[in-house]
Amino acid sequence: MSGATVRNGKALIEAKGVTRVLPGPVPVTLVRDVDLTIRGREFVAVTGPSGSGKSSLLYLLGLLDRPDSGQIRLEGIDTGRLAAEALSDIRLARLGFVFQFHFLLPEFTVEDNVMIPMRRLGSRSLEAMRERATAILEELDLADQAAKRPHQLSGGQMQRVAVARALANDPPILLADEPTGNLDTKNAERVAAVFERLVRDDARTVVMVTHNPELAARADRRIRIVDGRITEDTGRAA
């Protein structure tokens, strides 16, 4: 699973003074004046109580949402100036998402699900896409499940397929929002091991939101958020 751009030590994602307010009759501040730099080959765990703004921060860092103020730079590019289509293109090629719910397309096979991002990017032949999907699934111990549909898999398998799909276009950054939230201990352990391997062997960067202290403890860097503010960042101290 090699091939991801390695920028060891270099800033991949930089957030400066990022604030996100949810509009409404009573506006809610989700993320408040966050400064954060994520570097290459980091395994970052974002923790905090429920409703503290962890997922909101992840969506901002993953360009799924736009900040109301502040700046987010991804690989040196100021994303605030980019149109929605350009942000989509960055997400397609440079970012991979894993959510608490696997969000696999139920009518497609495992292999087809993994191939969807590659087909949208369209930079490989169909044969090459199939080979890459097979390679990723083998790496995640899912090779024998390729022809199955999601409903035929266990929860842990489905989540690993979601990881495989996130890795399809070989992105340097993987963003995971409570990836083990719906998994039992054994399956959570397997997913955590995959993330560790992605950082260690593939030189990728993983940013993971989690409630699980054991999982967070396995990360190289832990960021704690309370009420939308970063209250603790082991990386900053380092």
Binding site: S55, L64, E85, S88, R91, F99, L105, F108, I116, R120
Partner: protein
């Protein structure tokens, strides 16, 4: 695009029953549209063909489109003097001394002209009195301008010369009088002249007004009967190309001064009825397509409602709004496209079925079956309308789907 199509097909397969129902809605609209168009245009063309075949293309009448201007008005145009009680000179109607005019009109290339004198008469036979039009013709000229000879069931135009006072009756008129060829009847004119005439032939055109109301005799006899010697009231023209009738009518009217009506002007009222009938037909068929479009709107909206999570993940992966829109537009287009294909087949089947129904119709014309026509334009128009309805019905929910915010959906699912 293959990916978008795959996604669209997958969605539709997941809702196969509703998809088929929506498709059938489009098929019904397209099918009925084709069948109705083939019937409506068929009957319209049939009528026009009969009119063009059987009646003169231009009729020069013994009247003026605008009454001649009073000399006093010409003399004092714009004058301050008002004249009241000015009476126009009473003139005897009719085109007098028609021969040179007919000869001049026959000199126009690709045009044949024949004079007639038409008058109302009462036929009496076996105690029955039936009012009808008696048309005085010159057979040699008449056979060049009308299809009356072609429509003779018995006798010929030359038979009018064979007896002293020959008359040819329409089939329905003869039936009303219960008279057969060879019998003699009495004819009374408004001038008070009574003449015994022998039926020498019978015609059938299929146009009810002609078959029930018209009869033919020699021009000279009719002039005697009407007491209008050397006068005709119409000069009938036939062109090699009937589409040039309007232009010729204008030219003739400008040259002779008499009102000259082309076949389309003479039947303007009926052609307007056809227009209104077509509008009603297209409105009815259009409403079927609107209902079908609602069906498509409904199914695409339902799929979008069911697939919001898929939309969210696709957008988070990096699909553009245009990609999402394309997927759901494809769905509308696929339903519309398949419905159109099925509708073409259905429409063709209806067209064949309608054409095969043995039915006696008596409206403006007599028909033994429904006059349907096959035209690829009907299929193109109905298919275009079906597809357009499907695309519009698919576009509205597709646009909404494209605007969904993935963060909202992911938060809701978590």
């Amino acid at each position: 695009m293959k990916l978008h199509l795959d996604l669209a097909l997958t969605h539709l397969k997941g809702r196969i029953r509703q998809t088929v129902l929506s498709m059938l809605g489009v098929a019904t609209g397209v099918g009925f549209s084709i069948a109705m168009a083939s019937l409506m245009q068929g009957s319209q063309l049939d009528f026009i063909r009969r009119i063009v075949d059987l009646t003169p293309h231009v009729v020069v009448k013994d009247e003026y489109r605008h009454p001649p201007e009073q000399p006093v008005r010409r003399l004092y145009a714009g004058g301050a003097v008002a004249l009241t009680g000015v009476k126009p000179k009473e003139e005897l109607r009719g085109i007098r001394n028609p021969k040179p005019r007919v000869a001049a009109l026959n000199g126009i290339p690709n045009v044949a002209a024949a004079p007639i004198l038409r008058g109302q008469v009462v036929f009496r036979y076996g105690g029955k009195d039936v009012a009808a039009a008696l048309v005085g013709i010159e057979p040699k000229l008449e056979r060049r301008v009308s299809a009356i000879e072609k429509n003779l069931e018995t006798g010929s135009l030359d038979d009018l010369f064979a007896v002293a006072n020959g008359v040819i009756l329409g089939r329905s008129l003869a039936a009303k009088l219960a008279i057969e060829p060879g019998k003699t009847l009495t004819v009374s004119s408004p001038a008070g002249v009574v003449m015994r005439m022998k039926v020498v032939g019978q015609f059938h055109t299929g146009i009810l007004a002609l078959d029930q109301q018209e009869s033919y005799a020699l021009l000279k006899r009719v002039q005697v009967l009407m007491e209008r010697p050397n006068v005709v009231n119409e000069i009938r023209l036939r062109l090699d190309d009937a589409t040039k009738a309007s232009a010729l009518a204008r030219r003739v009217e400008a040259r002779l001064g008499y009102r000259s009506e082309s076949w389309d002007e003479a039947n303007e009222g009926i052609l307007d009825v056809f227009l209104i009938r077509n509008i009603i037909m297209y409105a009815t068929v259009g409403s079927i397509l609107v209902v079908a479009a609602f069906g498509i709107f409904n199914i695409v909206s339902t799929i979008i409602y069911e697939k919001v999570r898929d939309i969210a993940i696709l957008k988070s992966i990096g699909f553009h709004e245009t990609d999402i829109r394309a997927i759901f537009l494809f769905e509308g287009f696929l339903i519309g496209g398949l419905g159109t294909l099925a509708g073409w087949g259905f429409g063709y089947a209806l067209y064949r079925l309608l054409g095969a129904i043995p039915i006696k119709v008596q409206m403006f014309t007599e028909m033994d079956g429904l006059p349907v026509i096959f035209s690829l334009a009907h299929y193109a128009i109905a298919g275009g309308a079906g597809l357009a309805a499907a695309v519009v019905a698919g576009y509205l929910p597709a646009r909404k789907a494209a605007q969904l915010n993935p963060v909202d959906i992911i938060r809701g699912a978590a």
